[in-house]
């Protein structure tokens, strides 16, 4: 008998809990249903992310350049930003590893956590490249916020369609050495958000 069948057979015959004794609770929305921009920003900042203000007359490109005035490498995955190269121009990981600032658009954010979502669609299949960059700038529409994890999983079809879907809540971080929180571990060192309408 194959390992698969051995395992399944053992589970079928010997398991103590049985179907009829443990009903599956129906899906339910719990918790705070506030999906305001204020809540999202507060959560994002708690996770180490920042919000970049857009002053009157500034383009999104201006905002990005103002945040990273000295950089010579801005890779863009969005039409709003020209940058120095396009994400689709990246051919090797070594090339991606040189990227300083990556600019992407997230289809939605979660107010409870300050999380933004990215999948192969927004990244044009350049999945690793977004994590190799030193800094990440995320464009997010004010209209695309959901309140919390329950509403996110119930409302957003991306969780059922994407092959790769990451919720990023601030930049990479670690507290593995003597409990000291360090923002910027192995992935992006900073995560900044720019609102769009």
């Amino acid at each position: 008998m194959s390992s698969r069948d051995t395992i399944l057979d053992k589970l079928r015959r010997n398991r103590i809990p049985r179907e009829d004794d443990y009903e599956l609770p129906p899906v339910k929305v719990l918790g705070d249903l506030d999906k305001s921009i204020e809540r999202f920003e507060k959560s994002l900042q708690l996770m180490g992310g920042e919000v970049l203000p857009q002053k009157a007359g500034q383009t999104i490109e201006d905002v990005v350049r103002a945040r990273f005035p000295n950089t010579t490498s801005i890779c863009s995955a969005v039409p709003e930003v020209e940058g120095t190269l396009k994400i689709t121009d990246l051919k090797t990981h070594e090339q991606s590893n040189e990227v300083d600032v990556m600019v992407v658009r997230s289809p939605f954010g979660i107010a409870e956590m300050g999380s933004i979502f990215l999948s192969e669609v927004e990244l044009f299949d350049h999945l690793a490249d977004v994590h190799l960059a030193q800094h990440l700038v995320v464009l997010l529409s004010r209209e695309e916020l959901t309140a919390n994890m329950h509403t996110a999983y119930q409302e957003r079809s991306e969780f059922k369609t994407a092959f790769y879907g990451v919720l990023m809540s601030g930049p990479s971080a670690t507290a593995d050495i003597q409990g000291v929180l360090i923002r910027g571990a192995q992935g992006v060192r900073t995560l900044s958000l720019i609102w769009t309408s």
Binding site: L8, E23, L30, V180
Partner: protein, 469 residues
């Protein structure tokens, strides 16, 4: 694997010898527990979440074969290669086979407890495969040839100076670094070239979703998303108990996991894998390794609800003061005490005794596992199987006889009080009394409750009864 019982108490005593390590360890874990409490107090629905999490897991375990088949079917449809492993040895063989097909020699992996459980590095390395842990804490433990000390923070028993010494040896950094930022940066710089050149990536999985054929990996450092996406081949090792039925169930568990673990609302990365990336290859290995046996144990099956948050470890006074290394196992702390004996009852027979039975572990568990009750049940099972040391067994027998006879008990309690007052220290504090090793025995009382009650209450109550009659 040696079969000799782990000398937990002895190893813990050694850990307690060094004040800086002992004090930091205790404070750090208690800080995580307090941050968890702050999160909990900000959420009125916390208990309802725990209750739902527990019920979803119980239902899934009661229907495990069906949901596993559903997951397999959906994962295959998404283009994932699904493998099944009865035990660690089979799992390791499958990994070697997949890598062999590609002529791959370098495995870059994110943290997963289950590959430690399978002793995968020990199997692959002699076969010419370099395994690199890319999580900072797990990497520190790998370089130091130690098992993880904690399920979430693997190197929590170490201080900055310890890490500086290890990195100096392997990364050539200054051994006197005192700033953790510099050490974390050294890890980033050392890991990048290995990540870029690795030919196979590996992750674990916190949750498997039957309905979508996908799985979720919750991490903070970004190393898992790099490890999984840089090489062409991604292998995910998944324990069969990690299933949930629906994608919406993730809402319940993601809200509980990092809050219970570190007291942060969510991990920095919550990554949903559902199929291979364009041009890539994805393998999932569903590992049993004792889980189907555990599901057949009436007292212990519900330990399979565990989501590996480590809250029970952070709250446990024994774990905080003995350190993860003293458990001599992949899983330490209260959860280790109840699942380790299912792997090897003799070797881990001492672990269910590393508890004060205060029940705090059960109270903080996000999936409501009755951990302290299972610790008690394990003691009974091990005593029946004679898997506990002779001295402990004999003392328990004596205590049993004493507690069964009230008169004998009272006489001996009075005797103990006199002994505490009059005996010299060397009689009270010796190897027969491990309780007195690191703490003082209680102060003797002037009078036992029983004799006070006889004098003051018994007579009055008898008198009153007479009067009312």
């Amino acid at each position: 694997m040696s079969n000799k019982p782990v000398k937990h108490a002895q190893a813990a005593a050694e850990f307690l010898e060094d004040d800086p390590h002992r004090l930091f360890h205790d404070e750090r874990l208690w800080d995580m527990r307090q941050k968890r409490d702050q999160q909990m107090h900000g959420m009125p629905e916390w208990q309802e979440l725990r209750d739902r999490a527990s019920r979803i897991k119980e239902h899934t375990l009661a229907n495990l074969p069906t949901y596993l088949e559903q997951f397999e079917e959906n994962a295959r449809r998404n283009g994932i290669h699904v493998h099944w492993a009865r035990d660690g040895a089979e799992h390791n063989r499958i990994v070697a086979e997949i890598m062999g097909k590609h002529g791959a020699k370098s495995l870059i992996k994110s943290k997963s407890m289950i590959t430690d459980e399978c002793e995968m590095r020990e199997y692959l390395e002699p076969r010419g495969i370099t395994v690199t842990e890319t999580d900072l804490g797990e990497r520190i433990q790998q370089l130091d040839h130690q098992l993880p000390s904690h399920v979430v923070v693997p190197a929590v028993q170490k201080l900055t100076g310890d890490v500086a010494k290890i990195f100096a040896k392997y990364y050539g950094t200054d051994p006197n670094i005192t700033d953790p930022h510099k050490l974390a940066e050294a890890q980033r710089e050392a890991a990048r070239p290995v990540l870029l050149s690795g030919d196979t990536g590996m992750t674990g999985g916190n949750f498997i979703v039957a309905e979508t054929g996908g799985f979720v990996v919750c991490t903070n450092e970004g190393n898992a998303d790099l490890s999984a996406n840089l090489p062409n081949v991604h292998i995910a090792t998944l324990g069969i108990e990690r299933l949930v039925p629906r994608v919406e169930d993730l809402g319940v568990f993601v809200r509980l996991l990092s809050r219970s673990a570190l007291g942060s609302p969510i991990t920095q990365y919550t990554t949903h894998f559902r199929g291979p990336r364009k041009g890539g290859e994805m393998h999932v290995i569903l590992v049993d390794n004792g889980r189907s046996d555990r599901l057949a144990m009436p007292q212990f099956w519900s330990s399979l609800k565990c989501i590996r948050c480590g809250a029970c470890m952070n709250t446990c006074p024994v774990y905080r003061r003995s350190g993860g290394q003293s458990y001599g196992s992949v899983y330490s702390g209260p959860i280790g005490a109840i699942i380790d004996p299912t792997f090897n009852a003799k070797k881990f027979s001492t672990l269910p005794f590393a508890s004060t039975m205060n029940g705090s572990c059960s109270n903080v568990c996000p999936v409501e596992i009755n951990i302290h009750e299972q610790i008690y049940d394990w003691r009974r099972v091990l005593a029946e199987k004679h898997d506990i040391p002779f001295v402990k067994r004999e003392i328990m027998k004596m205590a049993g006889r004493l507690l069964a006879q009230p008169r004998l008990y009272r006489v001996s309690i009075e005797g103990t009080e006199i002994a505490l007052k009059t005996m010299p220290r060397f009689v009270l504090y010796n190897y027969l009394n491990p309780w007195g090793k690191h703490r003082e025995l209680p102060h003797p009382v002037k009078e036992t409750f029983n004799s006070w009650y006889r004098k003051n209450r018994l007579k009055t109550s008898t008198k009153k009864e007479h009067e009312s009659a």
